[in-house]
């Protein structure tokens, strides 16, 4: 791997975005975009292979390119290759390729298909930049590219007001997190004097010990990691900034799969994993754990009360991201990243499956109007059930292995977080069973007859199914070995943890089955969709009532203030107008206008005439000026000597 080949991984999709932005024909654009991403997928796999040959604590391979040099300060662009970035790049490009292929089928009828692939490529390029960046500034730039691209993609169907609003909401809410992130970057630069993660001399941010520095009266590492975590919270939809993610389901379904399952929302978790040393040094890991745990639980509750197929998955994603945070918090990078990788596969599968279902049901998203889809859509059903099994951590699926590691770490390090995570897992099994019962059992309740999707959509589904089931067992050991090792490795596998996790998964499924077996779905009230769940714990309303009301309050106050000011003004105006009249004529008109600004400009133009006066076209005058100039120059030097 050289700089060029590594840099090509994000650059290929960027190039594709540039090319497709000029294309009209959607089909050709999709071919260009898919080819570019397959190319970077191939390169990523090579890079991954190389990174995997490195031992866990080897120095990473660096490729720093100087970008700007201002005085003594140098700012580098660069890429880094270690097991973490290698694995992540391979996952993003692989899942991304499948989603791109699927999109070619899903968006085939759309008039703006070329534009869609342009945005998708831009997004992929930004995401790969985030993954491979070796400096906080490049990381942040790509992070923002990802933000813009996701805004464009979520509001892609901008003729729908909800989609436009959802795009805006996603952009603004994540921006709140980005402010924290940016301040963190600046602070890190101030404290450490560099923005590179690693450098050849071992002076990168992650290689220095920042604990001895202070910032705002706290340890620098604590403050910086806290600020970076705010950025991660925004991007990864953690409480309290999770509200944008479910609304973002207004975008086309492949977008939901790409952004909200595999890549963008994982960027926040990846950020924490990337800068894990800072969190470890700064002692902010418990914060990560508990924000994650509470998010996991709350989102799982909300998912129970939703009827929109994609919204359930969205809340499930929020919940699973919380679990990843718990994993990183209690057990280190390897555990969190393991769940991130397995989740990327099975959640992408679920979203693409949901897309196939929605497609087959003629753009119907309400699960109450589905039902009985197992027969007309056999491939989709099988794939969807595989994804569900992995999500609920059914024994020996990939989700089972990764979730097990998280629970194991929590059991060893933080019992409170363990019980919350267990409860969240139970709820996961419950809401997924509920959803499957609604969608696949009984008779069809919609108006149009459902149909199976074309092979370009189902083939990626089946490929992903294989990974959703098998990946966990396959990569578990090598992943644990290569990524950052356990913080406090549990001395032995606690049998009780495994037993609890299996019981929870199976129990949730059985419970859900029992509750919904006798129900006439879609007509009677849903026993689990309690009011608080259905209304998402009134988060939007609370924000409306607090932040929104605060603004309203501000408006009222400022209006009153305005009234007061108007009164004072009237009083003052009378007074001032008399003084002002004097000034306006003497000061403004005469001094400022005619003397200062306008006068200055006029004088400059006049001066233009003066300085061009020698330019009269007569050669003798020209030559005289040379002589005059020479003499004057000599006189000046003589005079100052």
């Amino acid at each position: 791997m050289t700089t060029t080949t590594l840099a090509l991984i994000p650059l290929l999709p960027l190039l594709a975005a540039a090319v497709t932005s000029l294309m009209r024909d959607g089909k050709r654009a999709s071919i260009v975009a898919i080819a570019a991403l397959l190319g970077s997928c191939l390169l990523s796999l090579i890079a991954f292979n190389e990174a995997w040959a490195m031992a866990a604590n080897d120095a990473p391979k660096l490729f720093n390119v100087p970008w700007l040099e201002l005085g003594k300060t140098k700012i580098n662009f660069g890429f880094v290759l270690n097991p973490l970035t290698g694995a992540m790049a391979a996952m993003v490009t692989f899942v991304g390729s499948l989603i791109f292929i699927y999109s070619a089928g899903y968006m085939a009828q759309d008039k703006r298909m070329a534009r869609f692939f342009c945005y998708l490529s831009l997004f992929a390029s930004g995401m790969l930049g985030v993954v491979l960046a070796n400096s906080l500034i490049l990381f942040f730039m790509c992070w923002e590219i990802v933000g813009v691209a996701s805004y464009l993609l979520i509001s892609f169907w901008n003729h729908k007001p909800e989609a436009a609003a959802a795009g805006k909401k996603a952009f603004i809410v994540t921006r709140i997190g980005d402010i924290g992130f940016l301040i963190g970057i600046l602070l890190a630069f101030k404290v450490s004097g560099t923005l590179d993660f690693y450098t050849k001399g071992g002076t990168g941010i992650l290689e220095q010990n920042l604990t001895s520095h202070m910032a705002f009266g706290y340890q620098a590492a604590t403050v910086i990691s806290f600020l970076l975590f705010i950025g991660a919270v925004g991007k990864s939809g953690q409480l309290p900034l999770h509200v944008w993610l479910p609304d973002a389901m207004e975008g086309p379904t492949p977008v939901s799969a790409l952004i909200h399952a595999a890549t963008m929302v994982a960027a926040g978790v990846f950020l924490v994993a990337r800068t894990y040393q800072l969190f470890d040094d700064g002692g902010t890991l418990p914060l990560v754990t508990w924000v994650g745990a509470i998010t996991a639980l709350v989102a799982a509750f909300i998912a129970l009360g939703q009827y929109d197929l994609k919204r359930i998955l969205a809340y499930s994603t929020v919940s699973q991201l919380g679990l990843m945070m718990v994993g990183i918090g209690v057990a280190g990078v390897s555990v969190g990243m393991f769940h991130l990788l397995t989740h990327a596969f099975f959640k992408a599968l679920l979203f693409l499956g949901a897309g196939s279902i929605i497609h087959g049901c003629h753009e119907e998203q309400d699960i109450r109007k589905m039902g009985g889809l197992a027969k007309p859509m056999p491939f989709t059903t099988i794939a969807y059930l595989c994804g569900t099994a992995a999500l609920v951590a059914f024994p020996f699926t990939s989700g089972f292995f990764s979730k097990d590691e998280i629970l194991m770490g929590a059991w060893a390090n933080d019992r409170g977080a363990f019980w919350i995570a267990t409860l969240a897992s139970l709820l996961t099994a419950l809401y997924m069973t509920r959803q499957c019962m609604y969608v696949f059992r009984g008779t069809h309740r919609g108006e149009h007859a459902p149909h199976e999707s074309p092979p370009i959509m189902t083939v990626p589904l089946l490929i992903l199914s294989v990974f959703a089931l098998g990946l966990g067992a396959l990569v578990k050991n090598s992943l644990m070995e290569h990524l950052h090792p356990f913080k406090n490795p549990p001395t032995e596998h606690e049998m009780i943890v495994i037993v609890i996790s299996v019981l929870v998964a199976l129990g949730g499924i059985v419970l859900g089955f029992m509750i919904y077996r006798g129900q006439v779905l879609g007509q009677a009230a849903d026993p689990l969709a309690l009011k608080p769940f259905e209304r998402k714990f009134w988060f939007d309303e609370i924000y409306e009532a607090t932040v929104g009301q605060l603004w309203t309050l501000f408006i009222i106050i400022s209006e009153q203030l305005n009234e007061l000011l108007v009164f004072i003004r009237d009083l003052a105006v009378e007074l001032a107008s008399r003084i002002g009249n004097g000034f306006s004529i003497g000061g403004d008109r005469k001094l400022i206008d005619s003397l200062a600004f306008d006068g200055m400009c006029a004088r400059l133009r006049c001066a233009g005439r003066t300085v061009t006066r020698p330019q009269n076209g007569f050669l003798p005058g020209y030559l005289r000026l040379i002589a005059l100039g020479t003499v004057l120059l000599g006189a000046l030097v003589l005079w100052t000597r």
């Binding site: 100087p66 133009r605 020698p614 050669l619 020209y622 040379i626 120059l633 000046l636």
Partner: protein, 497 residues
Amino acid sequence: MDLDFQKLLLTLLPDLVVVVALFAALGVDYSRLRGAALAKRYETAYRISALGLFAGLVMAVLQACGKMCVMDAAATAGQLKLTTNTLTLKTALFALALAVLPLAKRDLVTTHASEYFALILLATLGMGFVVTSQNLLGAFVALELVSLSLYAMTALNQSRAASGEAALKYLTFGAVSSGFLLFGLSYLYGATGELNLANLPQLESTSLLIAAYLLIFVGLGFKLALAPFHLWAPDVYQAAPTPVAGWIGSGSKIAAAALLLVLLQPVANSPELKKALVLALAALAVASMLVGNLGALRQTNLKRLLAYSAIANAGYLLVGVLAFDSPITDKANGNQSVLFYILVYSIASLGAFAVISVLADRLGRDAEISDFNGCWKAIPGLSIAFMIFLLSMAGIPPLAGFLGKFYLFLAAISALPEAASLDQGFYWLIAFALMMSVVSLYYYLRVLKAFLVVTDEDGEAKQVPVGIADRISIFALAAIIVALGLWPEPLLGLLQN
């Protein structure tokens, strides 16, 4: 002295190829194409000279990379200095000349087809020798080669009486200035007894040397169009064929600036002398910025406006020249900042003239600013390129012109680091330069307003045919401006000694 002629031949191969092309163009035109149509003669001369220049460019690049026999001092008996730095300048000059050629072909201004191209090549050769020469006399002769070619080219615009008049003025003016330059160089020789710049002894602050340098400033001030030696510029820019004006405003500026820097290097070791000279340079800088910027305000003709802008930019350039040995980064110093600036300015200026020649000469007009009203509609691509060139000259980030100015001022600020108070150092000069930059925005934006905002009143279709070569050269120049603004490091690195 023994010269290894084989080695000499190899090291001068780029120049030889251009000379051969030059004669080939003349020969073919005189013999085979006698009586042929003018357009055909232009096309043939253009092809031959472009081919030769391109071959020369490739070889110069190879030399600059060290892939082709680069001379040791012995091969030219120390006459030339061929380092990465000087070869980069030479390469840049050849490349810019290559961009001029297609423009010259556009407009059949004269019946002397092959001479036109031969003169461009001659001027280019001269510039190449100016930037590589290490000998006072050699540099002077090369500079005269440039000047004489340019005088002749200025007269080539046969459709305009003003062309001949401007050429005569240019010639007379130039002859007088060359006298000053030669006078200065001979004083320098007289005081040191050495023609080779590499062997100059430690200079002392004597009146003779000060006089020598002042005379040199006058002579080179003419080439750079420094006030008060600028009077030829507006007339020549306006009356010369547009590609020639572009070449006068870019290539010869690079050569003169490089020569000025080379001549100043020995001064670095003599603080007394330097102090005396720096003040003279500062005075010239102030005068140029004043005359250039204020003079440009009231111009209605775009070419004259660019002439005044050239005067102003020469003034900015001197701000860097007088800080030629002060550091700007850990590797680069004022020398690099000056060369960077002049290269970037020349690219932008040549680009602007290229756009003018594509647009105005076809309309048979005199490039009044109002002639360009509403160009945006007819030729959006070229208008955007033109905007890039002008904004780069005005120093708007992120274009290269901004960085160029930034480096110049950085050098001037660090020129006297121990005296970094407001009344010492060059803060006052930089403040003045910045103020003048604000004034300059007014006239640049006035031009851009005509291009991009004002609609065309007489409704005449401004559609002009733009050849592929013109298009390539204009867009390549614009792309370089943008690229250098974003990533200046490679060029800055190449310009280091």
